[in-house]
Symmetry: none
Subunit: 211 residues, 4 copies
């Protein structure tokens, strides 16, 4: 994580109300008008704030969006917590992917996430923040859940868990970003089934009839 968007309370002089007004304005604007109208000037005007106040605390509008989404996650309790461990790895992962779909489809987040993702592709500094913070609730919990399963012998011991994680996450993100088909639970469930089966995780005694 780059040090540029200072965590709250890093400066005792910073006005918290102003900070929130900016983040809210950014989310509102991107939701209402899409990326074309998302402008530093527009955010400043909507938040009734001087432009300099934005430039003082964030290096780019992507960084504003990023912090706004982190804030939104925190407010919703989408913390960095671990996935629940019911003992059934397959079910736990399917549930995690369904949650991910819900987040990507949440109308408060969807457009902001698209814009942020697009900017992160072109801005390495932003990509670093993105990976460190936004990826956390996705990648790390899944990764940790897989590790627990591997430790208890439910996955082949030599398997690279980072690859499994990507096999689970990437198809979802890819369809969301580039596809035109709606994200269904049938899709995510199948992704989990194929990936786990291919990784040596036994199918449940009663198959879930994937089709």
């Amino acid at each position: 994580m780059t040090a540029r968007p200072p965590a709250r309370s890093e400066s005792p002089r910073r006005n918290e109300a102003t900070r929130h007004a900016i983040l809210d304005a950014a989310l509102e604007l991107v939701r209402e008008t899409g990326h074309t109208r998302l402008t530093i000037e527009g955010i400043a005007a909507r938040a009734r704030v001087g432009k300099q106040t934005i430039y003082r605390w964030w290096p780019s509008k992507g960084a504003v969006l990023h912090e706004a989404l982190v804030e939104l996650d925190a407010a919703d309790g989408h913390g960095a917590g671990d996935l629940p461990d019911s003992g059934d790895l397959r079910a736990d992962l399917k549930s995690a992917l369904r949650s991910a779909v819900a987040e990507l489809t949440d109308p408060r987040r969807s457009e902001a996430l698209r814009v942020l993702t697009a900017e992160a592709v072109l801005d390495p500094a932003l990509a670093a923040d993105y990976a460190a913070v936004l990826d956390r609730p996705g990648r790390n919990p899944i990764h940790r859940r897989l590790r627990r399963a591997q430790d208890s012998g439910q996955l082949a011991p030599g398997t690279d868990l980072a690859i499994i994680t990507d096999l689970l996450r990437a198809p979802l993100r890819h369809r969301w970003l580039h596809g035109d088909t709606p994200l269904t639970t049938a899709f995510t469930d199948t992704v989990v089934d194929i990936t786990l089966t291919g990784s040596g995780h036994p199918l449940p005694p009663t198959p879930p009839t994937p089709r």
Copy 2:
């Protein structure tokens, strides 16, 4: 494909040399200076062409980049042809993914592809072109190769091949777009192995030491 950028030779009056100068200028600029400096005005200046000439034939700079990449593929023979069918599905797919890695890391293409991908995320018209043309040499050949394998009983009959395709392609694109780790053949080979195994394709008698 949107109807707006007329295919070549649609107009007999169009100057082919000018068209090439523009596509070349776009590729050079994006390679030299990255996305920040990629500008319609910059392309026009570099190509020694009037701005109007660009606006006459392309609806956006993403479309220019798109056509430039298609042209580059054509020149390199990366046509829309089918994957080779050696009879060994696993080997054929591994080979296909290695080719994909080569294309994504080709210095002539890499930055242009990143920029184009980012723009396509935010521009639905561009995304349609992107899916129709750039996806073809990736998605369709793999999809068709899978279909042949399924038809000959090498894959479980009910499996959704579009999902398999995404399980093969998305992890690669995802790491390339958002990751910081280099793309290795170990990675793509493992992706193929897990996906095929999970889809009911038998492992070869002598395992290629996937460990």
Copy 3:
């Protein structure tokens, strides 16, 4: 004169209507709101013109004001012509100074001239334009009239006419710029009388009762 404000028709591409709209807007704005509101952005908005169009043709807002005043003079016929020569030097100069007072107090010009003068004090490039063009209808005609008088023996032959010119012009400009007293004909007439008498020009037989 610096070459920066290109004379009209220097570029065949320049839009004359736009040029006039800018000059008019500048004069209107400075007259209505004074120097505080005279802003490149304000001129552009009032003239319904892009800012770049102003920056393209003028180096500073002082230069715009300058050209606007020159244009106004041309429209009013305040050309670079010579002073009338009635044979009576004293009367001719008194008349010239009365005209100068009329120009300085003309409500269309007054505020613009003040602003332009203030800017010229701090901007040498602008001062050069100012001296070359705006001074011409003041300095040179007076200077030339004095030269004719000196040639015909009405002034002491060794006298430095540039100093006489300044003795005639400077008190007027000085009171206009810095004073709070209204400019009267009694004032300008006395200036002419003292200066000419001090320069060896004979008083008329019947004194003009300066007080």
Copy 4:
């Protein structure tokens, strides 16, 4: 004098060292960088002072400059005293104008005076201060010297001494403000000679070769 900038020692709480640091910083800045960089923020930073401290005591940066110049005059002994009266009016005035030239040319003062003069042209409140304080050592001493001469019959009795004063001062200020020619003693001496002669003051028996 406007009421806004309280005179020194008006408030017992005012820090004299701070006040001097501000005045010095203003003079240094205007001398080093000219008017473009003369900024309230710049003065505050250079003086290591908060901006509010400047706004608390002065209404504009022109007022700061004004006070700085007054202070400089006081330090140099350029008080508001009378001109010396040698009995020779002509010589006394020539000497006074030479002093004025020295002040306008003094590198410590020159740029500050130009900036202050330009601001005073556009700011009536500042102009009032300027006339009351900076003019005093110029206008009033000359005016009083002329009055003494008129009282002793050395000048025509009905002459308006304010006009004479302007005839003496204005050409100098005008050339300094707007001209590009250096200020010479030949120039100021000639101004005095013509003005006094034109005002009825007899030439000395041995003419000072004005040619």
